[in-house]
């Protein structure tokens, strides 16, 4: 089997929309294009029926009831709505006062969680940012020891987007339900890849997004628990009372249909897919670690998503490595292109030195990744790392036995 270049290994950023999903969406652009809120003609009824089916497909994937799914524009909006909406509803004091409630999150969450938390700090809430150990995992014990009398919300992602590390979310859910605290999880990297049951796992609020699991861009969902406890949130977008008043705006019917179809396909295919991709991930990690020296797999060795790996190649700068493997689409923890020159805050949260954070690649595989592509990626990365190490002054120092951290560098 021949390989088509470039190879896509950036599925944690976004995925190819499954052609079966596109096929399901198409009629809703040109044939049954009614507004699902139009209650008095057949176009509207068709749209409403399609949205109802999609809600059932999404609910079935995560073990919720269909009425517990709220459509949004994506996980960023879902996170904003969950965190700000829940905190403002549960506030222990009016706007303008202080000590309005305590929220627990972690320093290496996605910015779509961290920025809303910072906003709430300015609005009088207290936020604790938990720090992971070197394995990147936030444990239930860490959350428990940060709990206070006035804790109202815990928001911890299910799996980390850069590392693939899996946090102890079900355990945290049980803890929160014991203490009468709301549990929100950003499950953007988790849903559709790993079995999810919000009932069993005691989740109150969960954000997820269609384009991460072979659905279209621009459609997300927020699970909001309706029973034991009934979770109430304050809406952010107002104007018509759609989605039971929690998110107004005409529904994106074709997108929602695609989201639902993508959920249905994941429910059928995820277990086989996870097993196949885990084999690829293990091959990538084993081969790269054996063919090259000074290679580090970032994050916990086993508690990680099966399709994602984050690897540092010592003494090689990540952006130049990406340039070398330009026929492999992937991402790097190096932020050489950003104005700040700061490497990934997620890798730094693990206590990884800045030099190693600059040296990392994130490879995330997906539904169409082939065995041949994995072999090609291994060969290409090994070749580029060797090319760059041949001109790396740091690799020379390492081989001379000099600790580069002991050198007094002239920083700019």
């Amino acid at each position: 089997m021949s390989i088509e270049l470039p190879i896509y290994m950036d599925n944690a950023s976004t995925t190819r929309t499954d052609p079966r999903v596109v096929e399901a969406m198409l009629p809703f652009f040109t044939e049954t294009y009614g507004n699902s809120a139009s209650r008095n003609h057949s176009f509207g009824w068709a749209g409403e029926g399609a949205v109802t089916l999609a809600r059932e497909q999404a609910a079935s994937l995560i073990g919720s009831g269909p009425k517990e799914i709220i459509w949004t524009s994506g996980a960023t909006e879902s996170n904003n709505l969950a965190i700000k909406g829940a905190a403002r509803m549960m506030a222990k004091g009016p706007a303008g006062s202080s000590s309005r409630g305590h929220i627990i999150t972690a320093i290496h969450e996605h910015k779509a969680v961290l920025d809303p938390c910072k906003r709430l700090e300015r609005e009088g809430f207290d936020v604790t940012y938990l720090e992971p150990g070197s394995d990147g995992i936030i444990t239930c014990a860490m959350v428990e020891s940060a709990m206070r009398e006035d804790t109202i919300l815990v928001t911890i992602m299910w799996a980390n987007n850069e590392l693939g590390t899996i946090n102890e979310v079900p355990e945290m859910g049980a803890l929160c339900h014991d203490r009468g605290v709301l549990m929100h999880t950003d499950a953007t990297q988790w849903v559709g890849k790993m079995p999810t049951d919000v009932e069993r796992d005691n989740i109150d609020l969960m954000s997820f997004s269609g384009h991460k699991f072979y659905g279209p861009n621009g459609v997300g969902a927020l699970f909001i628990r309706r029973r034991r406890p009934r979770v109430r949130i304050e809406a952010m977008i107002e104007g018509g009372g759609h989605e039971r008043g929690m998110r107004s705006g005409t529904l994106n019917v074709p997108g929602i249909v695609g989201f639902g179809k993508a959920c249905e396909l994941c429910a059928e295919e995820m277990s086989g897919e996870a097993e196949r991709l885990l084999g690829f991930r293990n091959r990538l990690e084993t081969e790269l670690s054996s063919q090259l020296d000074v290679v580090t797999i970032n994050g916990h060795p086993t508690r990680r998503l099966p399709h994602l790996t984050n690897i540092s190649f010592g003494f090689v700068e990540g952006e130049s490595l990406m340039m070398g493997v330009s026929d492999i689409a992937c991402s790097s923890g190096s932020a050489c292109t950003s104005a700040s020159l700061e490497p990934s805050y997620v890798l730094k949260a693990l206590g990884i030195g800045d030099d190693f954070a600059h040296s990392s690649l994130r490879l995330s595989m997906g539904r169409w990744t082939t065995s041949e592509e994995v072999d090609y990626a291994i060969a290409s990365i090994v070749k580029s790392v060797n090319h760059l190490r041949a001109m790396s002054p740091l690799y020379d120092l390492h081989n001379e036995g000099i600790d580069i951290n002991a050198i007094d560098w002239q920083s700019h």
Partner: protein, 140 residues
């Protein structure tokens, strides 16, 4: 962000990669000047070694670079430009000329600054070894 054709050329076929010896080997050679600038935590380290003849002309140069493609291209270009020039003349190379030659975008200007610094730092080291006044090496 797409790289310019010249940056890609230098990345794929860098000129004058290498060294005239390890740092300890060249430490006492007064015909060789060594400049190491940048820092690993900033994602850029450049090492430039120059070999200078009795007439003050830079006969040969070698670089090593830990950094992005633009940093590698800037240091590769710097070695090409200083060879054959006197140390005093090489001091006149400006980072803006490197930016222009490689069509570097604004976010990559620091790579050219680092290349200019590495030239100044290597020449300063050479002059220091030969009892000349130290030039402005640690300007940043």
């Amino acid at each position: 962000m797409a790289y310019s054709k010249k940056v890609v050329e230098h990345y794929e076929n860098p000129q004058n990669v290498g060294s005239f010896g390890t740092s300890s080997e060249v430490k006492d050679r007064d015909d060789i000047g060594v400049g190491i600038v940048g820092a690993p935590e900033c994602g850029d380290v450049m090492q430039l070694q120059i070999r200078v003849g009795d007439d003050g002309v830079i006969e040969d140069a070698r670089f090593k670079c830990f950094g992005c493609g633009s940093a590698i291209a800037s240091s590769s270009l710097a070695t090409e430009w200083i060879k054959g020039r006197t140390v005093d003349d090489a001091m006149n190379i400006k980072n803006t000329e490197i930016v222009e030659e490689l069509s570097l975008p604004p976010v990559k200007i620091h790579c050219s600054v680092l290349a200019e610094d590495s030239i100044r730092s290597a020449i300063a080291d050479y002059k220091k070894k030969n009892g000349h006044e130290e030039a402005d090496s640690h300007s940043h």
